[in-house]
Amino acid sequence: MVEIICKKIIAYSLGTRIVQLELKSPLIAKKTLPGQFVVLMVSEKGERIPLTVVDKDEERGTITLIFQEAGFTTRSLGSLKEGDFLYALVGPLGNYTEIKNYGKVALVGGGVGIAEIYPVAKALRKENNHLITILGARTKDLLILEKELKQVSQELYVTTDDGSYGRKGFVTDVLQELLTIHYALNAIELIYAVGPVPMMKGVSQIAKDRGIKAIVSLNALMVDATGMCGCCRVTVDGKTKFSCIDGPEFEAQSIDWEELGKRTKMYQDKETHICKLYNR
């Protein structure tokens, strides 16, 4: 049983909430590295869902998760209070990000994917990379971690779909523009992107056109997250890979995006049903 030490609603807009939880888990706090994730179960009857470890505090023995209340499980998780307990928490899982000095790195985060680029950004900064960070949200109220990322980035750009803050448009628009106007060919060594599938797909296309290496962290559906079930499989370079043990990071250009997009919608009907049923 894992205790919730601290809970904050860090963004809210029209029924959508982004929640931050700090969980007691000294061992995971000690071991986890940027890019890795945990799997948790809210209750004994719950499903197992993966969430990225956004931050950790070894002294307090805690880890921080940030998630958007999307379906039944994330909403149940969001309804817990400080002092409540989770039924299960396992981690750290997945491979960690390769952190080294690349030079100039463009970090692209969309929606709650911003949470996932944060630990990577901090680690890359420590290695003296020049960070160009591009954040995208549906609307101003749903933008998270802007302040935190500003502190570690040399440049920071914000886009919103509705134009309520930053630039109106998508992160890919800014990336495209930076690459054509502000930076010479090959000036950016790496693009690291996390967000909704269409966004990552867009980033992948841009990177491909320019011949820049792009790494994405995939959010495939998972069950055990130890390689046992094959639920998280993706087609990478025409071959089947398991996101949980081979990933979650892959080179963007080798992903079959269409397939991934479809697979993550496999249980949409069921989720709508359970959400209606419990009316949450």
């Binding site: 009857k45 396992v90 094959g230 269409e258 479809k262 697979r263 069921k270 419990y278």
Partner: protein
Amino acid sequence: MRKEPVKVKEINIEERTKSFKEVVLGYTEEEAILEAKRCLQCKNPTCILGCPVGIDIKKFINQIAQKDYEGAYCTIREKNNFPSICGRVCPAEYQCRKACVLTKRGSIFASFEAINIHFLERFVGDWGMININSKSEALNPKVKGIKNLNLKFRDKRVAVVGSGPAGLCCAGELARRGIAVDIYESLHKPGGVLRYGIPNFRLPQEILDSEINYLRELGVEIMTNFVIGKLKTVDELFKEGYSAIFLGLGAGIPTFLGIKGENLCNIYSANEFLTRVNLMFAYKFPDYHTPLNIGERIIVIGGGNTAMDAARSALRLQVMNRIKPDVTILYRRTESEMPARRLEIAHAQEEGVKFKFLVQPQEFVSDKQGFLKGLVCLECKLGEPDDSGRPKSIPVPGSDFLLETDLVIVAVGLRANQLLTRVTPELKVDKYGDIIVNPETMETSLKNVFAGGDIVGGEGTVIEAMGMAKKASASIINLLFP
């Protein structure tokens, strides 16, 4: 002496598919005695050689015939920690029963006449579960080899990684001798395949729970949600003061077919399908929150126990959801080459699972949303025997045909779980990723690290996993108390 074997009672076929209740009810006392009395008590009992752990089958059967159930229980427990489990899942027709002299010569598996050793073992195991607890057993002089429960060994600690049959067995063997054992398990519940793979209608979880509770009574600690290799390394375990480590990691990675479209929606590995059902209780959705799609025309690919379990589970899910049952198993050879337990094949057939032999999947076909809609197959014919000794299945060019289906479960085998071995490079593995051990001692290339079960032998059986674990536990005891 009675010639006809005593048939084991089962719940009737209509009832079966409506739930996940156990199908085989097991022998009553009278039936067990009748069956036990059929045993010829051979002078040179060959059945014992057929059992991977060498249970004194002749003796325990005789003890049943004499109504000495406690004696029978002790006889079995000398060699096998989990008789209630093996009595339910052992492929006895390839092991002890095949070696029984009543089996007709030359058959590939035990014939009907062979003594139903596994059902007798189950009877005794279940009897013991009710009548004997860990303390009375540990102190019971009839149980050889375990009477030296000795607290002076308490300063020796052993870590067991994985809580499948191999891990549980090794932990039990050590704990019964008073050694402190901690089991580390990555899932949230212990049991390995016994928990997430084998369905309740074959092995009720209460039986597994009861065996695991028994280990806890012996003082075994089970740390769930704990991945060794990630949260702690093998080195770190030694630094914490463990004297030896046993690795029972299992063969946890499902193989796929490597054909076009295999990642479409509604194509499951048997492991995923069964895990959702057994470990996560997806069949109780939405009360339990893990979803599972069911499908109207289900195809299961494979011919082993995993395929049977997946097919029978899928059929039950259809019935429980008022969908007309329609499950077909595709296998590339014929029925006699199927590696599954014969009883499971028979049960699947009785319950309405259809079989299509001599076919090979070629390509999955999708609808616009990325959901599966059909499977193109090739017909096959049997050729010369291959390495496995079974005739090779040879696809016939140009024989392709389309099967309509909206859900496929792939059950074509498992590979070694590499979560730990990948991050422990000093631990030698073979080209399949299986851990290399000294077969006499089960010691790995790492000092004081032992291994057993599917991570060593590749996909095997529960009793084989336990056999290796016993060997390893004996080596660990030798190591700790030279």
